[in-house]
């Protein structure tokens, strides 16, 4: 169950941090329709994160941070923090297990769409396979997530086409956005030891298997969008460790500092 809890955290953190990043678009989107769509996608990811965090908490992951967050005894009246909030708000960035792709600055709209195409294509592949997980909760989460992610992928692909094959300016920006996201793509196909063990148990999905899904989507979209598949080196790991081990980019800390600020200012409060 420790592995399973860790795996739930990985999948939850990808969604939680990605959702937080997408939420930065709120009130800044280029058009009202995009305002609605981006919020919708952020909400879908947030929903996925909440179920997975609750599951991780159920499996004991919250206990460790409940103390760290000083959110335990203070709520002796029974209104304890939900596990999801302990894990989201009282966990330091070094204990977040998302891939670094989930945390990068989404930059302009083109970069956001490049990010979303890769992220949703990858996660859709993952969730599609996870529907067959030996773990019934994960299978149920995945079943609910698949249509949400299919929508995200369609949305992103539509914009990558429009921007890539729109104006000269948008083409340049779309290619630049894709280039900027590219170094973070390689990491998402690497299997953490936890994943490898759970793959053997029939519980988890092998990330290496998702490369074909992402490649297929990119091959379908990029040429029509008149875009070139980037050739840029992947970001390196630090002593072999990456986001799944809690070794992140410098971007994550400030994102979480803001996200957690109010909850941490009132550790004994419920909201």
């Amino acid at each position: 169950t420790e592995d399973l809890a860790a795996y739930c955290l990985m999948l939850a953190d990808d969604a939680l941090v990605g959702s937080q990043r997408l939420s930065e678009w709120a009130t800044h989107a280029p058009e009202l329709e995009e305002e609605v769509a981006l919020a919708n996608i952020a909400l879908d990811l947030l929903g996925q994160a909440r179920v997975l965090l609750a599951r991780a908490g159920h499996l004991g992951a919250a206990e460790r941070f409940r103390v760290a967050g000083r959110a335990s005894e203070a709520t002796g009246d029974g209104r304890a923090h939900d596990d999801e909030d302990v894990l989201a708000y009282f966990r330091d960035d070094r204990f977040f297990r998302n891939v670094t792709l989930a945390e990068i600055d989404l930059g302009d709209f083109a970069q956001t769409m490049a990010w979303m195409l890769v992220f949703s294509s990858w996660r859709l592949g993952l969730m599609t396979r996870l529907r067959g997980s030996a773990d019934p909760v994960l299978a149920a989460v995945a079943t609910k997530a698949v249509p949400e992610l299919a929508y995200q992928r369609e949305y992103a692909a539509g914009w990558v086409l429009r921007l890539g094959d729109g104006t000269e300016l948008s083409h340049v920006r779309m290619q630049a956005g894709l280039d900027a996201v590219w170094p973070f793509v390689e990491e998402i196909f690497g299997a953490h030891a936890v994943e490898t063990r759970l793959v053997e148990a029939g519980v988890a999905v092998d990330p290496a298997a998702l490369r074909a899904d992402v490649d297929a989507d990119l091959e379908q979209v990029l040429p029509v969008a008149t875009l070139t598949r980037p050739e840029r080196p992947a970001v390196g790991l630090v002593g072999g460790r990456g986001g799944r081990d809690g070794v992140h980019t410098e971007a994550l800390g400030p994102v979480l500092a803001v996200m957690q600020s109010l909850a941490r200012a009132h550790p004994e409060a419920t909201w």
Partner: protein, 302 residues
């Protein structure tokens, strides 16, 4: 019109009626869009995931309301781009309440309770507006607004049942938002020149002071239920009038905010302008793509 029938887009209508209607609906649309900002300010910092989801969904709903309302103006021949330009050039107004800052998370609850509450008082009568598309949009909007209002009240109930710091936060927010909420009903009837014409056209159905009184009477017992004090020593039940008396609004502050000198006017417009201008290249790309695509589909098959 006096016969309470509905006017539809293709019907004949007096030019003055059309203009007033466009102005009113546009202001309402702008208010939804600008109103996203004070709430959006707390999405990234919402202190629980449940509250984050509620707030994100609410801000999303407001974008949706903006969309319906701009669509209603389009049925009157005025498109969204034109209206957005007027907004960011400060040639059209939006509800002045959104020129106040949200300083704590309790403000989110108070906006739901007081601001959405006042908005509903203003808007429910508009569901019977003489102009069909507007009336229908308002039915949907009012439904969602009262959902938001309940969520706001529920947040405040939770905070009032929480820590001392949380209760203090709520009282502080009420202290800051109470008077601006009363200002949402506009100038006193004696100082409201357009009211009579709008009522005759059934664009408006009650006077400002009538609605304001209704709001106060509705809110006082809710404040008592919450356990907060409304910051008005003159507030008291008047048995004779069967209504609450209340103190004088600071009309100088009201006028300053309406004229652009509120705490956040410049910030709100600058934010909206930046989003609009930064999005220009995206909208241009979408148009260019659509044009290419249209051209291609017109090409004869090879």
């Amino acid at each position: 019109m006096a016969a309470e029938g509905r006017i539809e887009p293709r019907d004949w209508m007096p030019e003055g009626y059309r203009k007033t209607l466009v102005r009113q609906i546009a202001q309402h649309a702008h208010s939804e869009i600008i109103g996203m900002q004070p709430e959006g300010n707390w999405i990234l910092r919402a202190p629980s995931l449940r509250r984050k989801a509620i707030l994100l969904a609410k801000v999303q709903d407001e974008a949706g309301h903006g969309l319906y309302l701009y669509s209603a103006t389009e049925t009157l021949g005025v498109d969204r781009t034109e209206l957005t330009e007027k907004l960011i050039d400060s040639r059209q107004k939006y509800s002045s309440i959104f020129n106040y800052p949200t300083l704590t998370f309790a403000d989110i609850g108070v906006i739901g309770w007081l601001v959405d509450g006042a908005a509903i008082c203003n808007q429910v009568p508009l569901c019977r507006s003489s102009y069909g598309p507007y009336a229908r949009a308002m039915v949907r909007i009012c439904k969602e607004e009262s959902f938001h209002q309940r969520q706001g009240f529920e947040l405040l109930m939770t905070l009032m049942a929480g820590t001392d710091a949380q209760r203090a936060m709520v009282q502080d927010a009420v202290d800051r938002w109470w008077w601006p909420s009363l200002m949402m009903f506009g100038p006193a009837d004696g100082d409201s020149p357009n009211t009579q014409q709008s009522m005759a056209w059934r664009i408006k159905r009650h006077t400002n002071d009538e609605l304001r009184q209704r709001f106060v009477d509705m809110t006082v017992p809710q404040a008592a239920a919450l356990g907060v004090t409304l910051p008005d020593p003159a507030l008291a039940w008047n048995d004779e009038r069967q209504a609450h008396d209340f103190g004088e609004i600071d009309w100088a502050e009201f006028t300053a905010v309406v004229k652009g000198a509120g705490p956040c006017n410049a910030q709100r417009i600058a934010h909206r302008r930046a989003a609009h201008e930064n999005g220009q290249w995206v909208r241009d790309a979408a148009s260019a793509y659509a044009a290419k695509h249209a051209d291609r589909s017109e090409e004869p098959a090879a």
